[in-house]
Symmetry: C2
Subunit: 192 residues, 2 copies
């Protein structure tokens, strides 16, 4: 497999579509279209150091519960259960971004850093979007005071039993990462 | 939050960009752009019954190992460690799709169905893409004979220790779902 060219197809501020021409496993010329938050996309720039976004797996040690948010997601036209998350600002570290996003979205404060994943990829058939999963303990009372105008977020602190029930509920929308974290917490009582 | 309109911005066969106008939490008009594999996208059609793709968490009971693939992903311009997966064909059930994709990508055969997730969402800030995670046991010897020309896939059967090591490796690219499944298997020795 060999990338031959990458062309930008749209011109929007946050997300753009690109077209790659490449040689497939049998040597034939093919086209693949994908979206990227970066311009040029990472397969052109070769910059894979900082993720596009941080996703926070936060355990509230004082209340012995996992932190989940319920948030309106425009592409779904509906509310979704997710983990606190957000785009990494220019010049920001992964830890600073995680700490800021957790506070803005839930009002909670990081009290212990557990572990951070390497850069991992959201859905590499359609995008080069990458995230880091940041595992922390946190403290405080949930609050939506830090929400921006484009956000509409409710914080939920869930028990092991509630986590298992959310995973089985077919009437709600749940993010992929969140479903897997809820699944692990529901089965084992731990987040990692 | 209220969706006011959704307009199609591009005209490609598999993936398109859409623009939503919506009212934010403070009543202001805003714009959000996202991509969808569906036309119209799900927030317009209201059709949420079948996922865009299936992702297979397969445990090889005979060899006592988890099934992972290493595959060239055009949007990353590189090889990625992932789970066997693929788009659901028109008219296909989730189970048929999972069984077909597992065989095509790895040569392995489903021997037991463990559980299937509800529809869950890949990255709802940028897309309405949904998947179902299908947990199975499988048997057979890995083979790439079923790969299509656009595929370049190697099957790996990993132990609990190898799973934990893959999660820590910063020199490889790993899909988000796969990292979380490897993380659970590495920590507990089970897939769910």
């Amino acid at each position: 497999m060999k990338i031959q060219s990458v062309n930008k197809l749209t011109d929007y501020p946050y997300l753009n579509m690109f077209e790659t021409r490449y040689e497939d496993a049998e040597g034939r010329d093919r086209v693949w279209r994908f979206v990227s938050r970066k311009n040029p996309p990472r397969c052109v720039s070769g910059v894979w150091d900082i993720p596009d976004a941080v996703v926070i797996v936060a355990f509230h040690a004082g209340k012995n519960r996992l932190v989940i948010i319920r948030e309106f997601r425009v592409p779904l036209g509906d509310y979704q259960y997710g983990l606190p998350a957000g785009l990494v600002d220019k010049g920001e570290t992964v830890a600073d971004s995680a700490s800021r996003e957790l506070f803005e979205e839930t009002g909670l404060t990081v009290t212990r850093w557990i572990k951070t994943s390497p850069l991992i990829y959201s859905s590499s058939g359609m995008t080069d979007e990458s995230i880091a999963l940041v595992y922390v303990e946190c403290a405080g009372e949930p609050s939506s005071r830090g929400n921006t105008a484009s956000e509409d977020i409710e914080t939920l602190l869930v028990t092991q039993e509630e986590a298992a029930a959310l995973c089985r509920d077919e009437c709600i929308k749940v993010d992929v990462k969140t479903w897997l974290v809820l699944s692990m917490y529901g089965a084992t009582g731990t987040i990692c």
